[in-house]
Symmetry: C2
Subunit: 349 residues, 2 copies
């Protein structure tokens, strides 16, 4: 079967490897219908992650059809259409019970995240509780709906995580730092949770337009100190009730902390690529700093899948270009160059 591999910075390729098969009793083999490229995949593609090695970091977001299951899998069977969350919670440990399967304690952490999923088939570990069944088959859905279902493997739940851990409440003023697919999904999440005002920090016209469509009320184009000043100006000097950090850089994290009023929450979901942010610096502002890998299964099963199927939210709009698996390098390149907000990869029907 075909799989995408990271060759070196700026170069993805397709290789042919053996189709995966069930190894553990709680594995599921999934035939991939759609995959995509994540902002976190781009860190190594851009050359910003010098630890990245050949074959590292080739995707973790798919929807597909169950092809085979291990003997301990009772929730899905061959032929089922599923969302494959990038987190593989057991559903039973203290972390999973608390709705934080990104830190599942039921198995070794190294097996808790998807990797190498830009491929024709994947082996999905700890599948029993984690996989999310979609009613029907891919052919039952429009392309727009397929895109929104694909968004439920990572970006939409990740945006939702930012809003949940920042405890966004009805009537809140919220700022979203970052206009990538996750930031845009965080706008959707803030609106779902009843935020009255949603400020997005964005410098790109196409993303600003989508943010407004998703529910943003204000756009701040400035960055750094100027951006902070603008957000404070928009909020009469108060700062925001919740800042959703959806990038992970030093600047974006410091910005999120600086625009938060005393006692506000910072929900951070961008994988940190920060040098040093010292906790003690934020004591006197009573900052509530939360976040980490999202609780994909929890959110999909409790609220997000229904919201997508009911047409209440359309996170699939973040996919503005589609590619075949053979064109994986182009999918990365266009996303890196911001020619597309997020690249979808059409693997099978």
């Amino acid at each position: 079967m075909k799989t995408a591999v990271f060759v070196k910075a700026g170069q993805m390729a397709i290789e042919t490897i053996e189709k995966p098969s069930v190894i553990e009793v709680d594995d599921a083999i999934i035939r991939v219908v759609r995959a995509c490229v994540c902002g976190s995949d781009l860190w190594s593609y851009r050359g910003d992650d010098d630890k990245a090695t050949h074959s590292a970091n080739s995707g973790h977001e798919i929807i597909g059809i169950v092809d085979e299951v291990g003997s301990a899998i009772n929730t899905v069977k061959k032929g089922d259409f599923v969302i494959a969350p990038f987190t593989h919670g057991c559903g039973h440990c203290a972390a999973c019970r608390a709705g934080f399967e990104g830190g599942c304690q039921g198995h070794d952490r190294s097996t808790n995240f998807s990797s190498g999923y830009q491929a024709e088939y994947v082996r999905y570990a700890h599948a029993d509780w984690s996989l999310v069944k979609i009613p029907g088959q891919p052919s039952d859905y429009s392309e727009g709906m397929i895109a929104s279902l694909l968004a439920l493997a990572d970006v939409m739940p990740t945006g939702y995580h930012a809003a949940r851990v920042a405890n966004v409440q009805k009537g809140d003023t919220v700022a979203v730092v970052g206009d990538g697919a996750v930031g845009l999904c965080a706008v959707i999440a803030a609106k779902m949770r009843g935020a009255k005002r949603i400020i997005i920090m964005s410098r790109h016209k196409d993303r600003q337009e989508l943010a407004l469509e998703f529910g943003a009320t204000d756009i701040v184009e400035e960055r750094g100190e100027e951006g902070v000043a603008k957000v404070l100006e928009l909020t009469n000097g108060d700062g925001v009730d919740a800042a959703l950090e959806c990038v992970g850089t030093q600047l974006s994290t410091e910005t999120a902390l600086a625009i938060a009023r005393p006692g506000a929450s910072i929900g951070r979901v961008g994988v940190p690529h920060t040098k040093d942010i010292n906790l003690s610096d934020y004591f006197f502002q009573n900052a509530i700093i939360a976040g980490g890998p999202a609780s994909v299964t929890t959110y999909d099963k409790s609220v997000l899948l229904k919201a997508v199927l009911d047409g209440e939210i359309n996170p699939g709009k973040v996919f503005t270009q589609s590619y075949s698996l053979d064109d994986i390098d182009q999918a990365y390149k266009d996303m890196q160059e911001r020619k597309t907000i997020k690249s979808m990869v059409v693997v099978s029907k």
Copy 2:
């Protein structure tokens, strides 16, 4: 009038200075009935704070009688018995409205905290919303009740802050790191909020006994890695739902973070004396790190004063020795040497 002054590490003294008078329209002059020594006062007394200068850091926790008020004060009058919170919120800004007056935005931050309150009289800035009126007069209360009322100026609300920002819920397993007066009050707070299990990390017999009386269910005497291992053992490897950090050192903060299960909250109220705790290190455990100066007025008015007056809680038990103002150096020394959990200073009747 007499006031305590910090002379140098290991030496407090009494000096005679002019009695304060109203300067700003929202000032109140308070005749001090009881003052006390805070764990944070001891940082400089021990010599751990090399920035401390003569007359710095002489107390911030009192109850007393209003002696004079500025023209903008409408909530209290001469003769009223009051708790003087160490935070001076305006009650109207976004931070205060959200219940985080420790970060009040209504005035310059330098005027938001009490200082120099081990004295016969104090000038209390921004008094209108912040002061908390106690029914009746000091003579109406037992010495035990007076002690509990004094605890409402800082330690009890600070312990409560740890539990509130860590979102302690009914049924939670909570660990309290630190067995000083604040840690012991955090035990009270965790119990008030319905925690099922309360583990206190404590090495001192007198404090352990008080912790058990306040509602602790388990004691961990070990520190550092051994202490972390013990808490994990007590929780079947899960870690706790909430860790209340009531010391502020590097070790106590790292301990609190290490015993928290993924997605758990760390409520920190010990003023940080940490070298460097890097935020990005706690992303993958989805740590929720909250805390800062407590919301004293908010908690006293909403829940704590009533709980004390109804005899539901007895935080005054943390005061295990009393001193006259003239004996202020002994009050510091005994507390530093752990001969008393917290030193009360009897200033007037």
